[in-house]
């Protein structure tokens, strides 16, 4: 039997078009709005922050257009050398590395046991 460890996705079921490029993107893909389904401020704000750390990104912002729709729009504008798609991909990678590092650090601190136990 297959048992999933964290798998919160099964319930929400990853939608067929989880990420879409909204109409109006520039042809060279340097300014693009992505629509991400079934995501909210949890991923939206942290991803926005991660993308904004990239010096090749001129602008990044996110919004949740309507509270009853499980959609999150993220707008990225980049300098000419890279596309918004690359910037989003890099942002996702960075966010993942950060969470991985936080997890490792937390586990290390728990292991050290240098805290009050009541």
């Amino acid at each position: 039997m297959e048992v999933d460890s964290v798998n919160y996705i099964a319930l929400l079921e990853v939608p067929d078009k989880k990420i879409e490029i909204l109409p109006g993107a520039s042809s060279d893909l340097t300014s693009v709005t992505f629509c991400v389904r079934e995501e909210d401020h949890t991923l939206g704000n942290s991803l926005r922050w991660a993308i904004m750390q990239n010096p090749q990104v001129d602008f990044c912002g996110y919004s949740i257009p309507h509270p009853s729709e499980a959609k999150m729009n993220i707008r990225i504008q980049t300098v000419d050398q890279v596309t918004a798609v690359d910037a989003l991909d890099k942002g996702i990678d960075d966010l993942k590395s950060i969470s991985q590092f936080i997890k490792a650090k937390f586990q290390q601190r728990v292991q050290e046991g240098n805290y009050a136990k009541i």
């Binding site: 950060i98 991985q100 937390f106 009541i118």
Partner: protein, 345 residues
């Protein structure tokens, strides 16, 4: 802005200044701060302050509010647990109506490892891999051994109050072997579900399924999950004499204390962490320009209280796993979206 002030939120008498951070590349003149994982690793730290069987307090230092907030939001809404989802009422002659009783039952925290269960969609049939079954059968009767004239319902009647301990687990399939080490049961035995009087009966079957707090708060593994920024109090000019006493009385006990230096009383900050940032000190004219209240913008004091289903130190790890999983899904979805786009052309 001075470098050391960049990550300080300034608390003034009537307003809070410098609230949002600007730690982005090219935000500051002549400064370039591109994000780099190595420098993040150097400046980032976690300090665990206190762990109890249900609570954890820890400091998350050197991250942006968006990351801290993502962690908090995941703790509340996106970590799976098991909770009673369906109540099959066979008989209920008690005073609490079926739907209210079912709602109360749903909120009882159930000790079961959600990772050992499969997700169940509403249309799926329950199986031993996805569902835990409990039974609740209680009838209230007169206690024949009660003293005449007894007025305490607990002595006068049997089963006058129904507690969570009366839920009986019915292992299905191989559940008895699978969970031999940790049988499924309510976390607390003393949760009052309802009250009964002689002749009243409740008989029902309860199905627990896996879910997340986003769907219903009963699935949330935390009672509270919150953070605050580390307060900081700077004394810019010595506060002496009786003013020192007044100064210390402006803060909760343990934050500031009066010390005697060369025979002069002087106020000293001991532990700003205990401060509630009431700003009382800013109301007094004599401290004008002598004290500065700030908060450290990238120092988060987390307080997480588990419902008891998941150990608090595991909660944080699971929350970070969920965040990473979100990234994995987004990355795959982005690749798919780009491929689809190219196919269309």
């Amino acid at each position: 802005m001075a470098l050391q002030d960049r990550n300080r939120v300034v608390i003034l008498e009537d307003r809070v200044e410098n609230v949002s951070g600007a730690e982005f590349p090219m935000s500051f003149d002549g400064q370039d701060l591109p994000f780099n994982l190595e420098s993040f690793k150097d400046s980032f730290d976690i300090e665990i302050i206190r762990v109890t069987p249900t609570d954890i307090e820890f400091d998350l230092i050197g991250v942006d509010a968006s990351i801290a907030n993502a962690l908090r939001r995941i703790l509340i809404a996106e970590i799976p647990t098991m909770a009673i989802e369906n109540v099959y009422m066979e008989n209920n002659t008690g005073i609490v109506q079926d739907e209210v009783l079912a709602h109360r039952l749903g909120l009882i925290p159930i000790k079961a490892d959600a990772s050992k269960f499969l997700w169940k969609r509403p249309e799926d049939m329950p199986t031993d891999q996805s569902t835990i079954v409990f039974k609740l059968e209680v009838s209230c009767q007169h206690n024949r051994e009660a003293a005449p004239g007894e007025t305490d319902p607990k002595k006068k009647y049997i089963n006058s109050a129904v507690y969570s301990s009366q839920l009986e687990w019915e292992p299905k399939g191989n559940q008895a072997e699978r969970f031999a080490d940790s049988p499924c049961k309510p976390i607390h035995d003393d949760i009052l579900i309802t009250k009964l009087r002689p002749g009243q009966t409740i008989s029902c079957m309860l199905h627990c399924v896996k879910g997340i707090g986003k769907d219903h708060a009963k699935f949330s593994p935390v009672a509270t999950a919150s953070y605050r920024l580390l307060p900081e109090i700077q004394i810019l000019e010595d506060i002496t004499g009786d003013d020192a006493d007044l100064f210390c009385s402006c803060f909760p006990p343990g934050v500031a204390e009066v010390v005697v230096e060369n025979g002069v009383k002087k106020a000293k900050i001991v532990n700003p962490r205990k401060d509630t940032v009431s700003r009382e000190v800013l109301r007094h004219k004599q401290f004008d320009g002598k004290v500065r209240l700030t908060r450290v913008r990238d120092h988060f004091i987390f307080n997480v209280e588990s419902t008891g289903i998941i150990a608090p130190e595991d909660l944080i790890v699971q929350a970070l796993d969920v965040l990473m999983e979100k990234c994995n899904i987004a990355k795959a979805a982005l690749a798919k979206a780009i491929n689809n786009d190219e196919d269309d052309e």
